[in-house]
């Protein structure tokens, strides 16, 4: 059973019809439906290409949030070997919204950290829908520290609608935890590569996306506020999310132009969820390329360049 987005309704109909025909044919072996079904497939492919050829910013947000999109866990399982999860912030708890640990990436020992949203009801609850609490950010800070001490590159996989807005999270210092994680990103003398695979939601994403290099999947987004939140505040109407998504310039393509993202990784036609293995492989290749580019840099130079990168955002001219 495939999940369709609201703008894919037409597509759902065509693909549904093709599937129906094939199901009928399976029951009546003398029926020949293949020509008709193939025609529907062609029509569906054309529509898919058309829809995804020019996704509006709001539609990109929807694709970025698609439940069938590969999540952090899928990337870690496919791209890393010997993944050894490390748990806990040594203060309060282990936050399952954030995965992290030691692993090998193409034989290189690294530290990998990422937001995991979960893929069904149980895992989504366990992962808190990828919304981390302070413990998650403190775990990330601890792992970045570990990487720094043992000179291991850090790879972060960003996919969150934001940090968790909860009572306990506030009481235990959500702001401070995010601020410290961001600070740690800017202090470590090892390469730090971040990849946004879905949603880069505000401070909850920045906390480990303040990297040397930032790659984004073609239909991922990165924003200071969700389009719905922005619409509620500036338009006083949360239904104006299309306009807000447009105004916020949150697509990977815009962020590359703004020099916030360094690389946009293409997705298969129809989005990452229609070609999970290809997408994961493309992300792996992108990470390898970015890591390779930083391999010879010395720690102090990395820190200096990373800081300069952020200092320049506000100084240099911006062209969109």
């Amino acid at each position: 059973m495939r999940n369709y987005l609201e703008f894919e309704k037409g597509l759902a109909e065509i693909e549904g019809k093709a599937e129906e025909l094939r199901a009928m044919a399976r029951q009546n072996p003398e029926m020949d439906v293949e020509d008709e079904a193939a025609a529907l497939d062609t029509k569906a492919d054309a529509l898919l290409a058309e829809l995804y050829g020019e996704l509006t910013p709001w539609r990109k947000c929807q694709v970025a949030r698609h439940p069938d999109r590969p999540h952090c866990k899928d990337y870690i399982e496919a791209l890393f070997q010997e993944y050894t999860p490390l748990a806990g912030d040594r203060n309060f708890a282990d936050d399952h919204a954030i995965m992290g640990g030691l692993a090998r990436f193409n034989d290189r020992p690294v530290v990998v950290i990422g937001h995991e949203k979960g893929h069904d009801t149980n895992t989504r609850i366990e992962r808190n829908f990828g919304m981390a609490r302070p413990e998650g950010y403190r775990k990330a800070t601890r792992l970045m520290d570990l990487a720094d001490r043992f000179k291991l590159p850090v790879i972060t996989i960003v996919d969150t609608q934001g940090a968790y807005p909860g009572k306990g999270a506030e009481e235990r210092g959500q702001s401070e935890a995010i601020a410290r994680a961001t600070e740690k990103c800017l202090q470590i003398g090892v390469p730090l590569i971040a990849v946004i695979i879905g949603e880069g939601g505000s401070g909850g994403a920045v906390a480990f996306a303040a990297a040397d290099k930032l790659a984004m999947l073609e239909h991922s987004v990165y924003s200071v506020i969700s389009p719905e939140g922005c619409a509620a505040i500036l338009w006083k109407d949360s239904e104006k999310m299309r306009e807000a998504a447009e105004a916020l310039r949150l697509t990977a393509q815009d962020l590359e132009k703004l020099s916030v993202a360094d690389l946009v990784i293409p997705e298969p036609v129809g989005g990452a969820h229609r070609g999970r293995a290809d997408t994961i492989e493309a992300v792996g290749n992108a990470i390898e390329g970015l890591l390779e580019g930083l391999a010879d840099e010395d720690g102090a130079d990395l820190i200096a360049a990373r800081r300069k990168r952020f200092l320049d955002l506000g100084r240099s001219a911006i062209m969109l």
Partner: protein
């Protein structure tokens, strides 16, 4: 006689009565309702003498009360490119900026200055909540970097008064990038071994709290200031329960270990002087009213009436 009693006398009376109570001389405390005379309010730095409620104070007025003799010199902040995203909601961003400038007579939401407090040299920056909710965009980022660079150059501490709803949405991702950017500014101070004190004022929320406002060597808040990452309404909608009284207020954060102190605005200067001089391993402060510094010591005196 009729003409005099019916027309002239009321006219004269109305002129006099208008002179006696122009509206702006009195402010009603929004908390306890006490009518406060402007001089009294000003002397108490916009705090209510009867209930201690802390009202908004513009950065310039705050600096006048903070710096010795009300004398400080402003540090220039580079103005960033205006409206790089061509952002438009119900209003164009440049129009919102223009309105805010007109309303506050300031360039943007952060004022940076240097001067002396209790004869201790400092750089200070204060965020202006009345300028687009104090929101952090590229200008605020530039201001904090300018302040940190000035403090490092003069080898003196930085005191930052925060007040903001969060990041400036109209600058999109560029406002979010001010979180790491201002963090770099804080790191400059730390590496130079200089104190960075954050005074959190009402309200400090969102991306501002989650970056420079929570990275101080010492965190002091004004009483009852709202200090939060997520808004109360968002949390109530998420967890579907009512939040306790005083949640996300300064005293609540103090109890939960996020702040060092909660200090009344009128006592803030004395406390800052004392803390800073200890951190700088300086001699004890001379308390009480200090005479104005000699003219030649402060050639760039730039205090203005707020």
């Amino acid at each position: 006689m009729n003409w005099i009693s019916n027309y002239v006398r009321p006219k004269i009376n109305s002129i006099f009565s208008r002179r006696e109570v122009p509206d702006n001389l009195w402010t009603k405390c929004p908390e306890c309702g006490t009518m406060l005379f402007h001089r009294e309010l000003r002397a108490a730095q916009n705090t209510c003498p009867s209930c201690d409620h802390h009202m908004h104070i513009p950065p310039r007025a705050r600096f006048e009360a903070l710096f010795d003799g009300g004398i400080f010199s402003e540090i220039t902040v580079d103005e960033p490119q205006v409206d790089p995203l061509a952002f438009k909601d119900q209003k164009r961003y440049p129009d919102r900026l223009k309105d805010a400038k007109k309303k506050t007579s300031e360039t943007d939401a952060m004022l940076v200055a240097e001067g002396e407090i209790g004869r201790t040299k400092i750089v200070a920056c204060a965020q202006d909540f009345s300028f687009m909710g104090g929101s952090m965009g590229m200008y605020v980022g530039n201001a904090i970097i300018a302040a940190a660079e000035a403090a490092v150059a003069r080898k003196c501490p930085l005191v930052l008064f925060s007040a903001a709803g969060g990041a400036r949405m109209q600058e999109g991702i560029l406002s979010l990038m001010q979180m790491p950017r201002t963090t770099v500014a804080v790191q400059m101070l730390k590496e130079a071994g200089l104190p960075y004190i954050v005074v959190l004022t009402h309200p400090t929320t969102g991306g501002v709290t989650a970056s420079y406002a929570m990275l101080g060597d010492i965190h002091i808040a004004e009483p009852n200031a709202l200090i939060a990452f997520a808004g109360t309404r968002v949390i109530e909608q998420t967890i579907r329960e009512k939040l306790p009284e005083g949640f996300q207020r300064a005293e609540y954060l103090l109890d939960h270990g996020m702040l060092d102190r909660v200090t009344h605005r009128t006592q803030m200067k004395g406390e800052l002087v004392s803390i800073l001089r200890m951190l700088m391993r300086d001699t004890p402060p001379i308390m009480g009213d200090l005479p104005k510094p000699a003219e030649e010591a402060e050639p760039q005196a730039a205090a203005e009436e707020a």
